[in-house]
Symmetry: C2
Subunit: 222 residues, 2 copies
């Protein structure tokens, strides 16, 4: 056993062999919405060292989770992107997040990356609460733009021109998380200047209530 592996026929154990190392799953999370460059990855993973990021990218490439691709000129830089199979890990990553959302040890209010907020919306979206709704919402979160479509009880969020939405939301990802998950009133964030809106504010308020968090599980040592 050279590369410290569980020698176990179980598929879950195999998953841990290939994506169980520190940072691996978070790197995949950061690539879930599209390819990124080395420094973008590094910027969205607070605390990882360049060294380790290199190692992980090599490891994940060697097991066919992601590939390294050269952008056409004039960009000419390298990007990392998930393979199709790598992309399929979204279900698993969401299920992990859904489970952990009930953790009694989860501390709210910590910083999140743009990608984690978007993925958390995809995870916690409650179709029943969205019945009858039909609209699009543009989001400008820092450098990135997203377009969200809610119709027929379905949610889609992808990169796209934010200005094309029925409503436009401009803020940073933590402000969005604060109102969707933290219950901070939208008006307060607008007054603070943390959030800017163009369009129907009521639509946005309804949007924010579509992502209820589950109850926290009992803490055995509280």
């Amino acid at each position: 056993m050279k590369k410290r592996e569980y020698n176990d026929g179980c598929a879950t154990a195999h998953a841990l062999d290939i994506v169980g190392e520190r940072w691996a799953l978070l790197i995949m999370r950061e690539l879930m919405l599209g390819p990124k460059r080395f420094s973008d990855l590094r910027a969205s993973l607070p605390g990882i060292s360049a060294n380790l990021l290199t190692q992980r990218l090599e490891g994940l490439e060697s097991v066919s989770v992601l590939r390294r691709r050269k952008l056409p000129p004039p960009a000419a830089s390298w990007v990392y992107e998930l393979t199709e199979w790598g992309l399929e890990s979204e279900k698993m990553i969401k299920e992990i997040g859904r489970w952990a959302a009930r953790s009694p040890n989860m501390v709210p209010g910590k910083q999140m990356s743009v990608n984690s907020v978007i993925l958390s919306l995809r995870t916690m979206f409650n179709a029943d609460l969205a019945e009858g709704l039909d609209f699009t919402l543009g989001m400008r979160l820092g450098e990135q733009e997203f377009i969200t479509r809610i119709s027929q009880g379905m949610l889609e969020i992808d990169h796209g021109e934010a200005s094309r939405g029925d409503v436009l939301l401009i803020c940073d990802q933590n402000a969005l998380a604060a109102t969707v998950y933290g219950g901070v009133p939208l008006d307060q964030l607008i007054d603070d200047g943390a959030i800017q809106i163009k369009g129907d504010k009521n639509l946005l308020e309804r949007f924010c209530r579509l992502f209820p968090l589950p109850d926290t599980a009992p803490d055995l040592h509280s």
Copy 2:
């Protein structure tokens, strides 16, 4: 940051903080079908040291994933059991296994624990293929007995008296995996003495075809 944590508000990152350490998820897998004692756990996790198992159990208890409980006399020994929330991780663990089942690096034929085989059946069960089937199957896998019920396109497997099934299967878990996943003909395993059957063999053969594996994802370096 004492205990090496991702300082990330993302629920998936939090999950890694609490169950991302080596062995943690496999310990949970081993407790998924019911409480176990220290040495049973150790026996079903080939390669873990007593040392580390102690640490992990303490860690998982401290985050309310499992609890330590003293059995009533005359047993009077300690067992470890998942909390309700810990049990809810089954969906996540299955989703991880389902994803990894497509890995191009998965080597078939490795040893599996009894619990992993049972959980893999729960994971890979295909409801469409079970339409119209209605029977029970008892399984005696080493020391453990299970009763499986298939009806209305649903599968249930739990600990229970194997002899009460319409069919009884006696074998070790690797033989079961070999025929269900490895495509080894039942007859061959019977001839080898690896499997014993009491009851309708055809029923068992149909059972074995209810758990198709997904296609393997492309290997970038093949």
